[in-house]
Each structure stands twice: as C-alpha cells, then as structure tokens.
C-alpha cells in the first residue's frame, strides 16, 4: 500500500462517496456551532423543511458576543440578545446540547472542544469559524466552514469537499529559551506569507513541534488559517494521549486503549509525499511581534519596523505603506520602542491554562506600567478560569494590575464591549491584527502570552528572553 500522510489517512477513513471530477462526500464526526455563524443555517433548514441529522454529534456554545463581566446583568445589546435567543431556541428544537453562557463548561468553542474530549485524534471536525484549525493539534482533520456549509452539515452530517494539497512544515531542532509556540507560528506565517498555505492542509513536524505541550500545539494549529491553510495538523503521540485521557467525552478504559492503538496508526508513513515542504530552524526563531495589518507582517522583537521602500513588488510596497499609515508607525522604529495603550491576554490562540501560567510567572510581584489604560486577562473557558483560580493565578494577575474576566472571545474580535478605541494600540495574544479587528481604528500587535505580560509591565515591547520567569517551556 502506498505511504500516506496523516491528512490522507483521516480523509480516506471518512470517505462516504467519491466520484471522478466531483467533490467527495466526507463524514463529519463533530460539528461545533456558535451564535455568530449559525442562525441563517438553522433558518435555511427550516425553510427547506429539513432536520438536523445527528444532533448528538453537534455541540453548540455561546462565545463570540458574551460578556466577560457579570453575566447576571442582562446584555444591553439587543442584536446579541436576539442571536443568543436564536441559538438557544434552535438547539432546543433540534435536540442539540448547548453550553450556554451560564454553563460551567462554557468557553471559546476551540478551547472547550479539546478540553471536554469532544475533539479526538482521527476525527473530522468542522465549525462555522476559521479557527477550527485549532483542533488539528490533536491529530484531527478540522477546518472552518461558511454558513451554507454549516447548514449542509446539519442536514447531512457530511461535507462536499475537494481534497486539499498537503504542506509539510518542519521545524527542526530545539526551541530556544523564551521562544513560544506563538513565535514559531508567527515566524512560519512571516516566511510563507498569509496566502502561502492556500489550497493546502498543513502538517507540523519536527523536534520543536514534538516538544510542545498540547496547549502549544493548539496555538500553532490555530493560526494555520492565518497562513492560508484551512487546516493544520500534528500527528497524535504520547503527549496527545496523555492529554485526552480522562477528558469528559473521551473514551474510557478498554475503549481508550483500543482508541490509542488506532490513533498511533495515524502518523504519516515514512516515505509519504507532501505536495509542498517548508523547513525552519527553531534556533533561528526569536520572540515575534507583528508591525502591520496582517499576521504575515511580523518581525523579531529586536527588529525594526520595515521601510516600505524595501519591498520590491509594488503591490507589497503599497500594502506596507497602507499598513504603516493605519498603524501610525514610522519605518525604522525599533519594535521595543513601540508603546502600548492596552494589553489583551486571551482568545482561542492563547487563553489556555498553560498560557495563563506562563504569563503569571512573568508578572508575579510586578505591576503593569502606569502609562497603560488597561490590561486584560480573559480565560478561554470557565474550566480554565476555575483551574487558574485554584492555582491562585487570578490573584497574581489582579495584584499586578490586570483585570481578571469571565470566559469568551472578548477583545480578539470585540463583539462584546471589550474593544480598543480608535487609534489605541494593543499587545494582543490573539490571531488577527486586521484593520478594525479589535474595534474601529484599533492598532493590534500580535504576540505570545509572555511577551504580552512583559509588555504590560514595561508599557512597551521587550526582549523577554532576558527576563527571569521565562523558562522556555511555555
């Protein structure tokens, strides 16, 4: 039998039907749903007189517009209320389990899936959200879909798909101290460009990737879409199995042992061919900070804001000029000299317990800079929040001058009231620095949790490799 990649193995195992010249029908094991991209799908079903085929494989959660403050206070935003009501009603009618904003398991969809064991190796997972790529960290095939496809999966539990090309991203050698999973993925996007992975499913390999915890792997896979790859994956290994074991929905006992045997068979076969291969040396990666208006506009913290004139392609030059004008930055400015208004630690990229532990170590016993208007920590889920509070991390953050909030997407997308004001500049552990992403006129710099934490203390970016409390194992 021909050697196969991880992606090809999962694809083949989920083929319901294939026909030459047509997209294949693949089976979807888990369908995750949130309030933002689902209402039109449910109404489409109703109009066509169709039913949800497998409600027990569908999981819904409220995350995008939830308040991270006191949820006992009714929301002031009537549109958000209507959307939450619609989700609750649609789930009730279809028999779909919903983690509503009051559930103790509520959180960002891409945090709670893995945390609850809904996400498992070898499964296919979709959600009307581009950061569904996160779940690939467990060795699942997971990707974002549009609302029409949400409706399609609700109705058929299948998706009509063309097979993607495969992209191997090999990060060789050990990760240096102070360099996190976030820095690795930002370095990758900086190298391949934000459209570099278009048409591909990425698989991350190499010693630096193997050495990451599940949280770190999720951070990497999360941002696959920022490099254009709809899905990103990492072959399941002992780290994965240890993470999955004991999770609420995960198989138990003998079932778990059998599952592990199957999951072990999923790793890419020796000699399997990828359509494209990209190689990076971990030793060359430094803490990264974005300077522009997409995640590919990124440099090392010790670097400088580039001169648009240094771009040879006129289209790129113009894009850099636009970005610098929007960001209010001058070419040649040292990244470490950029001062901040707000710091946000959170989002489906970096809000898991390990992210919070790493940030807490940096800020412990220190205080956020007086020049800062706000420093915010938003745990990815209520389970993360509870664990952090058990460990006393909330106290460390509060003592250092951070606000400690309830779980949700929050300032990553600013659909609730956690936003930047026009012209304000943030260090953010989220995934997108697009114009207006964190509020109209917002200026976002994407960084790792330890960088965000250190920047909050200093009021500007710093080379966190020189800091104590940064142990290189975040």
């Amino acid at each position: 039998m021909a050697a196969k990649t991880l992606y090809e193995k999962i694809w083949d195992a989920h083929l319901v039907r294939e026909e030459p010249g047509k997209p294949s029908l693949i089976y979807i094991d888990r369908h995750l749903v949130h309030e933002g991209t689902s209402p039109q799908a449910f109404s489409g079903l109703k109009v066509a007189g169709r039913k949800v085929r497998r409600p027990e494989l569908t999981f819904a959660v409220m995350d995008h517009s939830v308040s991270t403050k006191n949820r006992a206070i009714p929301l002031a935003d009537p549109d958000a209320v209507a959307q939450f009501d619609a989700l609750a009603r649609n789930c009730q009618e279809a028999g779909i389990n919903l983690f509503d904003m009051h559930s103790r398991n509520q959180g960002i969809v891409h945090v709670i899936g893995p945390e609850l064991g809904i996400t498992l190796p070898g499964t296919t997972i979709v959600c009307g959200d581009s950061h569904t790529s996160t779940h690939g960290a467990l060795g699942a095939l997971a990707f974002g879909i549009g609302t029409s496809e949400v409706e399609h999966v609700l109705a058929t539990q299948c998706l009509s798909q063309f097979k993607s090309k495969t992209l191997k991203i090999d990060v060789q050698g050990k990760r240096p101290r102070g360099v996190t999973a976030k820095d690795i993925i930002l370095a990758i996007i900086g190298k391949i460009g934000i459209g570099g992975g278009n048409g591909h499913v990425a698989e991350y390999t190499g010693e630096a990737v193997r050495g990451l915890s599940m949280e770190g792997r999720m951070t990497m896979c999360n941002m696959s879409i920022e490099g254009g790859a709809r899905a990103g994956m990492i072959a399941p290994d002992e780290t994965t199995f240890a993470y999955v074991e004991g999770k609420p929905f995960a198989p138990r006992g003998k079932d778990f042992q059998e599952a592990v045997e199957y999951w072990k068979s999923l790793a890419t076969d020796p000699g399997a061919k990828y359509d494209t291969t990209v190689t990076l040396q971990a030793a060359e990666i430094a803490p990264m900070v974005t300077w522009g208006t997409n995640p590919g506009m990124v440099t090392q913290v010790t670097g400088r804001v580039p001169d648009p004139g240094s771009f040879s392609d006129p289209v790129d030059r113009k894009a850099a000029e636009n970005a610098l004008a929007y960001m209010g930055l001058k070419p040649g400015t040292a990244m470490e000299d950029i001062t901040l208004d707000r710091v946000f630690i959170g989002s489906c990229t970096n809000s898991r317990i390990e992210d919070l532990r790493a940030a807490a170590r940096v800020v412990s016993g220190k205080h956020v800079a007086k020049s800062l208007k706000q420093a915010l920590v938003v745990p990815g889920s209520r389970v993360v929040k509870a664990e952090a509070e058990k460990e006393g991390l909330d106290k460390i953050f509060r003592d250092a001058g951070f606000e400690w909030r309830d779980a949700g997407c929050s300032m990553c997308i600013g659909m609730n009231d956690d936003v930047l004001l026009s012209g304000e500049r943030s260090a953010s552990t989220s995934n997108r620095n697009f114009e207006g992403r964190q509020g109209k006129g917002s200026r976002t710099h994407l960084v790792s949790p330890v960088m965000a934490a250190a920047a909050a203390i200093e009021g500007h970016f710093v080379d966190i490799r020189e800091w104590s409390g940064v142990d290189g194992n975040e």
Binding site: Y27, A82, S130, S148, E151, I194, R432, G436
Partner: protein, 210 residues
Amino acid sequence: MKPFTKHTGLVAPLDRVNVDTDQMVPKQFLKFLTREGYGRILFYDWRYLPGEKPNPDFVLNLPRYKGASVLLGRANFGCGSSREHAPWAILDYGFRAILAPSYADIFYNNCFKNGLLPVTLTHEQIDELFKRTEASQGYSVTVDLEQQVVTDDKGLRYSFTIDPFRRECLLQGLDDIGLTLVHEDDIAAYEKKRLRVPLMSQPLDVKYHH
C-alpha cells in the same frame, strides 16, 4: 441559489492585496439573523466616515464606479474569517462576479454557495484590467461562465479555468444539500459501518446550563 451564466457590467477596482473578510463585513454586523441586507455595510470602515457619511476617498464611492457589478481585486482576496456575510454583502451590494489572481479557500468556497462567481486570472491579466478600468470611465467587461471567458469591447479576451463541477452547479443554480441528500443510502451505510466511531463516552461532570 441564483444561477450564473453570463454577466456584463461596470468594473470597480479595489487595488489592495490580501483584502480580508473583516474589511468586507466588520464584526459589529455579525449579529443579525438573516442573509439579506448586508450590501449597505460592505467595506463599512473604508466606505464610511463617522456618522455613516460616505468617504469620498474610497473607490466604491467615486461617482464613476456607481452601479458597478464586477469587482476587480488583488491576490489572496477574502482571507481571514470564514464569515459568509462577506459574499452575502458583495452580492447584495450588486456585484455578480469578482476578478482576482487568487482567493482564500473558505471565501472562494462560500462564493459558489451563493451564486457569486470568483474568476481567477493571472497577475498580468489582472494588472491589465486595472489599467483599462482606470484609463476609461465606464469600463465594462462580460464574464461568460459557459464559455469560461472574460471579454471587453476593445478586443480583450481572457479565458479562465474553473472546476467543472463548480461551474455546473453555478450555471444551474443547484442546491448543494439536495445534491448530497440524493446519496442518503451511502451516508446511512457509512454510519452503520462506523457504528463505534466516532468514539464518544457518556460525558462525566459536564453541565450544559447552570
């Protein structure tokens, strides 16, 4: 879905690379329950000044591009968020086709679900179209999906490739879900075969509500 066969219309040039879907439909407009009415808010932050006054510097607000129905873009058009509100807004504004050198995967896919045709041309062809659009006021093209060709009345003729299945669905305006449900037997057979997979246990210690 509205079929697409052939369309002639005024071209509007959006000369920016990597236009993301956050620009097409900013997040504050993701809270609605319908698929309609997004045309007004397309490119909101670029298009409007405070108070929703049209920004005179934004290309779609220039009088010469009023009524445009073919959108000319640059590489990696539609990157970022999976929000289908983006193609809904483009269509509702009045565009029927997009011409660009490349598209982000999810956006590209979403276009086809809504009868919006994303045509892929080479960088050189797109450059030429930008030149022609800017050079002559009222510049129009015809996008013919049946013939797979973009033409103007000055002799330009660019053929383009497109997946034959996607082309057929768009030409006929086929309902995706209907197409899949024809294969109900295959789906049922697959589910029977994989009865134990996906593995899922009765959850321990999980609360959906309070």
